[in-house]
Every structure is written in structure tokens, then in C-alpha cells.
Symmetry: C2
Subunit: 202 residues, 2 copies
Amino acid sequence: MNVGVLFSGGKDSSLAALLLEPLADVTLLTATFGVTHDHEHAAAAGRALGFPVEALELDAAVAEAAVEQLVADGFPRNGIQQVHEHALERAPTGTPEGSDSFDAIADGTRRDDRVPTVSRSLAQSLEDRHGIHHLAPLAGFGRGAIDHLVEANFTVESGPSEALPTGDYEGELRTLLLESHGVETVEDIFPPHEQSRVTGRL
Amino acid sequence: MNVGVLFSGGKDSSLAALLLEPLADVTLLTATFGVTHDHEHAAAAGRALGFPVEALELDAAVAEAAVEQLVADGFPRNGIQQVHEHALERAPTGTPEGSDSFDAIADGTRRDDRVPTVSRSLAQSLEDRHGIHHLAPLAGFGRGAIDHLVEANFTVESGPSEALPTGDYEGELRTLLLESHGVETVEDIFPPHEQSRVTGRL
């Protein structure tokens, strides 16, 4: 089974890839709107884990709509969810290298996640429309189990979110938001928080 | 991480164990009320997969209550769910070999399962009360993906449910139901269906 895993360089998508590794041919997909080069950090993390990596080009119009949503809401949840759903739609056909040969698309969504989430109906809709499987290897794992498994399997670096670029959706949305609405809006919507990035295997 | 996996010898719990194998020390737990020897078929399947196997003794009073529930409902869903929740409660401390050293308890519940299910609140309650993790490695996998992975990884034998004993809860409940209510009630509640049992790895 050829699986494309949406990959940010963070703990969750790294662990999702590791869980699938013995059962599938895993390719990591680093999503980007082309706004920043942050996805290259994710690609480097993916190569450090030993997986092939492809860039997944997202539609700039979706980023603009997500930024409007962020500003209207004053919090990130809905905008991030929109971007994730778009990435899931693009993944089956969206990389220049021709990932339309994937049998399945996976992500690192967790049992206790509030965003992004992939409901059973969304997963089934993706499967029916694209003729692929959707896999969420961490959907049955809580935060504690994931921390335990990450600690046992990866080296990780941590730092403040504004200083440690990763390949998640936040980085590019922050940049667009900064350009259009200024630093105060960015800090309102994305308060500084500790971020982490996987750097290799133990 | 030491993980006890509730194991019936069927496809789902076999695949759950396989997914956890690279990340954890897996012990298979074959649950039994002591009503039949069906769990020995599960134990044989587990050994054929190369895992250590322990018997998990369930409380006969729970089986009796489940049979009453089956008869009252006329369908198996609630009775099976009660037994599964009981097995999850017993697993952290329930084997003679002393599985209270498990860091986590896992099962083969799937994204599209109607029964048994483990809701997020049930999982979190188990974790809080027993100081363990609950893992459902297939919670983010649909039927199609599971069939694909089973076919690629296991040898399987199939047959009618009444002729192919496995270690799932149905076998012992059928036996108790037959003794107390006769064959017609058994066939009403558990109509004959195709059953399958894992026999080894490919």
C-alpha cells in the first residue's frame, strides 16, 4: 500500500508515519501555499527520519479565505480546519511527482485533537470521491500515549512558536496575517506557545 | 511501552497487534468467562503470529448479565458492548501472569465499528482510573483499508460462525444462551454469518 502522509515535521505526523512504516510504503507530503519556505524545515525533518518527501502545493485562494476566517473568528480553529480539509482533497493528486498513485492518504490527527479533526463522514467522503483510503493512525491514541511513544522514538527540539519554523499551516497563515493585519492581530489569534520539531530517530 | 492487546484471533485484533509491534512490547490477552475453550483457538492464532499470549479471566456474572441483555434486546449490540467494557476494566490487572505491569491496553475497535466501540470519554476514564493508556490503533482505519492490510499481511481461514470457533465474546455468549434459552433464541440473536480467523503471517 502506497501511503502519502501529510507531514509538518511535528511529533504527531512523525509518529503517524512511524506507525505506518512496517505496513506501507510511506511518502511524506509537506503542504505549502508558497508563502514561506517553512515547509523546507518539514522536508528536512522527514529526510532525517529516512522517508521520501514530496511537496504538496496548496491553493493560495484557500489561504486567503482561511485568513479571513481567522480574523472574523478571532481564533484559529475554523481557519486551520479549512486548510487541513483542502490539503486532504489535494493530496491524492496534488504533488508534481504524481502522487495520484497513492492508495491512501494519512494524517496525524489524534483522539484528543480539537483541530484539525477528520470526522468519520469526512473520511468516508474522501474515500468515496477519490477512490483512496483515509488513515488516521493516531485517532485512537491520547496525548499521554503519544508523548510516551515520541520520547521513546524521536529526538525533538522545542522553542517558541515564532522562532521555530515548522511545516504546519500556522506558519504561512501567520505570515499572510502579518502582511494584511499587522502584528497585534497575529498575536491575538496565535498567542505565542511552545512548538516542537522532530530532528531524528533514537 | 508494555501493551496488552485484547485478542480474539480475528483480523482486527491481529492487525492492531501488528501496528503496535514496532513501537511496543505486545502481549496478546485472550478473554474468557471459562464457559468454553474457544479462547484456546485465539491463543493458538496469537502464537502463530509470534506474540506472547496470556488468558484474561472475565467475571461470570458479567456474562449472565450480558445474556439477559441479549434476550431483552433481541440483538447483540448492547450485550457485546457490556462484555467489552468489562474486559477493558479487567485487562490492566486481570491475568494470572500479572499484567498489572502494562503501560497500555489496546483493542481492535475500528473507525466504522458499530460494536464494540470505545468513546473518547470511556478511553479517558479508563486511563484516569487505571493509570494506563488506552490505544485503539484501528480507530482511524476504515473497512477497506483494513481488508487491504489484512490481505497483505496475514493468512486467514473463513467459515460459518457456528463452525469456526474464535476467541471473540460471541462464542461463549452463544453457548450460555443455548443452555438457557435454546437454539431458536441463539439463531434469532446471532444469525449465522461468515467468520474468519487469522492463521499466520505472510
